[in-house]
């Protein structure tokens, strides 16, 4: 996704106009409007610095990021293994793929009632949901990457008399790497949403556990009708998600930099 860079300098200047107008209006309106639902700009800034100083927000962010990476790793590993299996073996593709594609149709959060009955409302459940969200994008990309290896490449492998293992290691995986990496990027974006959802939906309300993370922070802010904290949560949710997404894309571009040169 990412913002499209505008070509001209004036374009960038124009892009700041609307946010500036909105923030100014917000600031001015704060002195006039008095409603429980309307949060003045100052209150949000105060709530922001307060929750940073108390350590609530940094702690929540840390827990969420850790959880997102853990669930992403688990889901990606499983997706990678199964994707490799159905991408490389026609037989296992025929047997396993239809079932997996059928399961993919179920919306992510629709798994929560069933999984929470099996796994409880603790950490295992949250990680399972995040892993599930990361699983399918990785699976699909690994499968596609393995299937789309051009025939000449495979022939070179045969020329070297590679056995199956060496063929996978030296021919198929390097060729499929860009597709697999973009699958991992996409999986992280999905896993981020999955993490917030897991924290927001599991271990709050009627299902009591020890909630932590931005999602739980968010749910707590709403439950106490603290609109200022809700706005703080939305802003930190968006900006941290964006920053992490950029970081993952940057790292993966670094990791796949060789691929451009090898062409």
């Amino acid at each position: 996704m990412g913002a499209r860079a505008t070509a001209s300098g004036s374009g960038r200047w124009r892009g700041i106009m609307l946010p500036l107008i909105l923030i100014t209006t917000w600031g001015i309106a704060g002195t006039i409007v008095t409603s429980k639902l309307f949060v003045p700009l100052g209150a949000v800034i105060a709530a922001f610095s307060e929750s940073i100083q108390s350590g609530d927000l940094p702690g929540a962010v840390g827990a969420t990021v850790l959880r997102a990476f853990l669930g992403w790793s688990v889901g990606s590993l499983l997706g990678f293994a199964l994707g490799l299996l159905i991408g490389l073996s026609a037989w296992s593709h025929r047997i396993v793929a239809p079932t997996l594609h059928g399961m993919r149709q179920i919306a992510l959060f629709a798994w929560i009632p069933l999984l929470s009955a099996w796994l409880g409302n603790g950490e295992a459940m949250k990680i399972a949901l995040i892993a599930l969200s990361a699983f399918f994008p990785v699976l699909l990309h690994v499968e596609a990457g393995c299937r789309d290896v051009p025939m000449p490449f495979r022939e070179v492998g045969r020329l070297f008399a590679f056995d199956r293992f060496s063929e996978i290691l030296f021919v198929i995986l390097p060729t499929a790497a860009p597709t697999i990496i973009s699958g991992l990027e996409l999986a992280f974006a999905v896993a981020w949403i999955g993490t917030i959802g897991a924290e927001y939906l599991i271990g709050t309300g009627y299902m009591n556990a020890s909630p932590d993370g931005i999602g739980a922070f968010f749910a707590g802010a709403r439950e106490n009708a603290r609109m200022d904290l809700v706005v703080v949560s939305i802003l930190s949710l968006g900006s941290i998600g964006f920053a992490l997404d950029r970081a993952v894309v940057f790292l993966s571009r670094r990791a796949a930099a060789w691929h451009k040169h090898s062409r």
Partner: protein, 286 residues
């Protein structure tokens, strides 16, 4: 189909051998057999899982509260359909989806087209709109809840929000990707504004719009399930959460399957419509 030397050689060999059937007949019979075999292998794993599930339930390897027997799930499904509850919940859900799709899709279309046509609009609006829509729908939920309460408006607003971005991005891309050559042809033919719209703009934008519509539909369905699970007294998501709260996992399983099937059908319908409406694309580009 052109005959390559290899096929030609094979054909002559077949003709030389005393075979009674045509080689084409053999191939089509083989293809039909393969298709049947493909369906059979595709169903093997679900059946194996179903068998394991029923065995586990019969010998009570897991508590029935945690995993009800398949037969119980089937009976529950039939009961829910007979009593009409499943249909009415589904109708509620689909109505919300339609309302959200119309509102969000239409505004996404307008904003996307405006940004595509005018660089000025894009410069002013683009960065803000993209930044705002970077926050996932889930992030807006508590905010919208405080503003709209947990009534019908909340669901429709959230679905509309989810449908907005795919439609906006795709209609923007559609306008931006109109080939300059096509515009030049229109100018050379001295087409009027309306005719340019009719013969150049609409045909090049349409495929993008349909892609946007399809993405909006699947995004909207996902968000619908989410919002109904959190705050609703009707609809698929509600039925599901209700089944979970009363520990009737048979209801949960029935709704899960239905959510999957309906989601798949919606996507299928949209992609068939897309293929019909844009069949000329592959023809004209070929």
């Amino acid at each position: 189909m052109t005959i390559t030397p290899v096929e030609h050689r094979q054909g002559s060999r077949v003709a030389a051998s005393p075979l009674l059937w045509q080689p084409g007949a053999l191939e089509s019979a083989w293809a039909a057999l393969r298709r049947v075999g493909g369906v059979a292998t595709a169903l093997a794993l679900p059946f194996a899982l179903l068998a394991a599930w029923s065995l586990a339930a019969r010998y009570q390897l897991v508590a029935p509260q945690i995993l009800p027997a398949p037969s119980v799930v089937g009976t529950t499904a039939i009961e829910l359909i007979k009593s009409g509850q499943l249909q009415s919940e589904l109708a509620v859900s689909l109505f919300r989806l339609a309302a959200g799709l119309v509102i969000g899709g239409a505004s996404g279309l307008v904003v996307g087209l405006a940004m595509g046509v005018s660089q000025t609009v894009e410069d002013y609006l683009g960065p803000t709109v993209r930044a705002v829509w970077l926050v996932p729908s889930l992030g807006w939920l508590p905010f919208f809840m405080l503003i709209f309460g947990i009534g019908e408006a909340l669901k429709i607003v959230l679905i509309a929000k989810a449908c907005f971005l795919p439609m906006m991005v795709n209609s923007f891309d559609g306008v931006r990707n109109i080939s300059p050559k096509h515009r030049e042809v229109a100018r050379a033919l001295e087409l009027g504004r309306l005719d340019t719209l009719r013969f150049v703009v609409v045909p090049s934008v349409l495929p993008h719009l349909l892609t946007g519509f399809r993405l909006s539909l699947s995004k909207g369905w996902q968000v619908l399930v989410l919002v109904e699970m959190i705050a609703s007294a009707a609809g698929m998501g509600y039925l599901m959460t209700w089944g979970r709260k009363s520990f009737q996992l048979d209801i949960v399983l029935v709704t899960m399957v239905l959510i999957g099937v309906v989601g798949w059908l919606l996507d299928r319908a949209a992609s068939v419509a897309q293929a019909h409406a844009t069949a000329w694309v592959s023809r004209s580009s070929g």
